[in-house]
Symmetry: C4
Subunit: 232 residues, 4 copies
């Protein structure tokens, strides 16, 4: 991975030469607070995609018609599925970012900006979810959703690599083995997402991919003892 | 409650066997921060349901017509009632979750995910409130609102059960009696909600249920000294 | 103020008799965190009232017509004024609530609920601002805006009274004089708002009131050395 | 800079004479928390400008038409550019404000209000971004966007000046040289923005300016080792 190496090796010297950058972005607590805020807003904004009351104006369904409302809601289940999938995505990423930041003892402006890149991708999730919910059977919508997840994986990976090379990882966690745990986790997860989405792009059908993504995410959330998945 | 028992007993061993899961999601402060963020956004988003200015365009009411505006606002009182009810719901749940987290000394990735399930249900409250405000007399809308509250109660209960079995509760709070206080609170509250909503589903009328829910919630918020309710 | 006295004196004994309430809502830090979150979201949501791009669709103004855009924006200045006024309102209240919480050493569930009442009123500010921006010359819109500010003042005052009677105020701040400073501040501010708004209700014209409110708020924000206002 | 001097010298005495103002707004942690909240909401709200699913209703594009969706998204690239530019703006300002607050040891109500002025300007960014995304080739939209950035620069500069004169800067950071680093950073950045935008106002064309702004911001975010830019 020569690209990361160059970036990491030059990164510190660059900031060393620029006085302001040497003092900027060094507060780990505030980085965590900003992240929690953005995760919280993004998780809550997802629900705005479930704009059923607007989609079901009183004119269309009698206000007292229980069965009619139920039927209309059932027709909107793809929206709810996209909502659920994106909440799981954000939950998995939040647990991952929290775990990574927990293992840092310090942060510099480069590491801060790698996380801001991660957060940039994060704020796009409500948008790409909304796109996928509207065009649930369109493989381009699925592709964009996947690119969004990929971007988060790449920035998160770069953040760990940079932090462990520069020496921002807490001493008790700065072991070869711990690095392998963090990096393997990200590589396996991103490989699973890629393997799930690329076929959809080839056969131009999204249904199987979406079901598989939700299953992968449930696996990460619930962590059941399935022998095959045990090592992920 | 065998389901919970199985989950709890297996839960810890599962995460023990998976290296990443053993180190993930262990920051109690960040769980509290994410929760506060989601509560804050959800509480503030509720107000978006009060979209009276859009519902009352200048074309319909003369901009200077005070009496006309007042009448129009009064006609929108059901929206305000749904808003008020949901704010109370979120307030009660926030006090409850805060109290529970205060009694924890640590957290693991399973407990984190139980809270993420709780927060998932929480982010749905603005949606189910909006649905109920639009279809205020529709028993299906009320049913969905209740299922939302039930889902929060179940995840909150599971979180306490799991934490107290695994040993995440602070030593000074890890007593049989304290567990009973936490669990009884949740069971009584959920029973009251169920007793209030189920009749509406049978007689297919929502008005009595909504008034009763608001009264139950005011009881929890204000905690007056009414002999009958004193033990709730 | 017999109502508050009764509430305060009974308040503690009530919670004493109810086990759950004795342990609930005791985290001062999380109350501050929730408040900051709600203030942050409310302050940022205000800007959604400035929906000029939607009000000025490309069809109406040529995309390159600078003068046309400028004219259209100037016609929307009342919206900007309402926005500015509400941001000042929220800023003043945030400074006030922060100052009050800083002087507390502890909190109980009753005090928590008084603050939740304060936050409920707070989440209504984007709504009443939006109403006032749409019906800027309508005295009923102004009246509702004022009732919203009044509700925040009352809950904030009740919170201080309750906290100082029950003994939640930090020892170094629990003096007669400090109480007078806190309470006088709220009473004078609310009296100024009332004196400003009530005439508008009588003469059924809002312009003078709105200008006066902004001046009062600028006085609190900038705190200039004007002899007459120096003691507010 | 006589205006700031007068303000700063009078500032402290003013608050000294007003009892409430002497005790108000002194919590540095809560100022940071409110700022993080507002940054988080503003960063996430930006994405609401990317309302492509609404702009592309199912009626216009067949739900399965991948190529059609891709073409429609490409036509919306200016929106994405405005989004990206504003996220970078907010990221740069967040790093800057975090760095400044990190160097404070205390805060008073005047300093708090200077930051509230900064946050007021911040909450306008989603609005001016939305305006610029809608009228991407209109120089008045660009001018308003720039005035917004300028307002943030001015309040941020005033905050540092006031804090360093009154003595709120941490002892280890309260050096002449550190002040020069903070102030030079802001002056150079604002000069670059002004130099970029003013020509657009003269030639009444926005494209070159927008590209230059993004390049300036990428320079601040990535901090590459370009000799010419090394001293910024």
């Amino acid at each position: 991975m020569p690209l990361f190496d160059i970036y990491e090796r030059q990164g510190f010297r660059i900031s060393m030469r620029t006085p302001y950058n040497r003092i900027a972005g060094e507060n780990l607590d505030r980085l965590a607070a900003l992240s929690d805020g953005i995760f919280a807003v993004a998780m809550t904004l997802l629900v705005l995609n479930l704009h059923i009351p607007e989609a079901l104006p009183k004119g269309m369904i009698s206000i007292d018609d229980g069965v009619g409302l139920l039927r209309a809601l059932i027709r909107h289940l793809p929206n709810l599925l996209a909502y659920f999938m994106s909440f799981l995505t954000l939950g998995i990423l939040w647990v991952g970012q929290q775990t990574q930041l927990n293992h840092f003892r310090s942060v510099d402006r480069n590491l801060t900006w790698l996380h801001l890149g991660f957060l940039l991708a994060l704020t796009l999730i409500p948008f790409s979810t909304s796109l996928l919910a509207t065009f649930i059977t369109n493989y381009v919508a699925l592709l964009i959703y996947w690119l969004n997840i990929l971007l988060m994986g790449v920035t998160h990976f770069a953040s760990w690599r940079y932090a462990s090379h520069i020496g921002h990882v807490r001493e008790d966690m700065a072991t070869e083995e711990m690095s392998r745990v963090h990096e393997r986790r990200l590589i396996i997860a991103q490989s699973l997402y890629a393997l799930t989405v690329i076929p959809a792009f080839i056969v131009k059908n999204t249904s199987v991919s979406i079901v598989l993504i939700v299953l992968i995410q449930l696996n990460y959330a619930i962590a059941p003892r399935i022998p095959l998945l045990d090592r992920l």
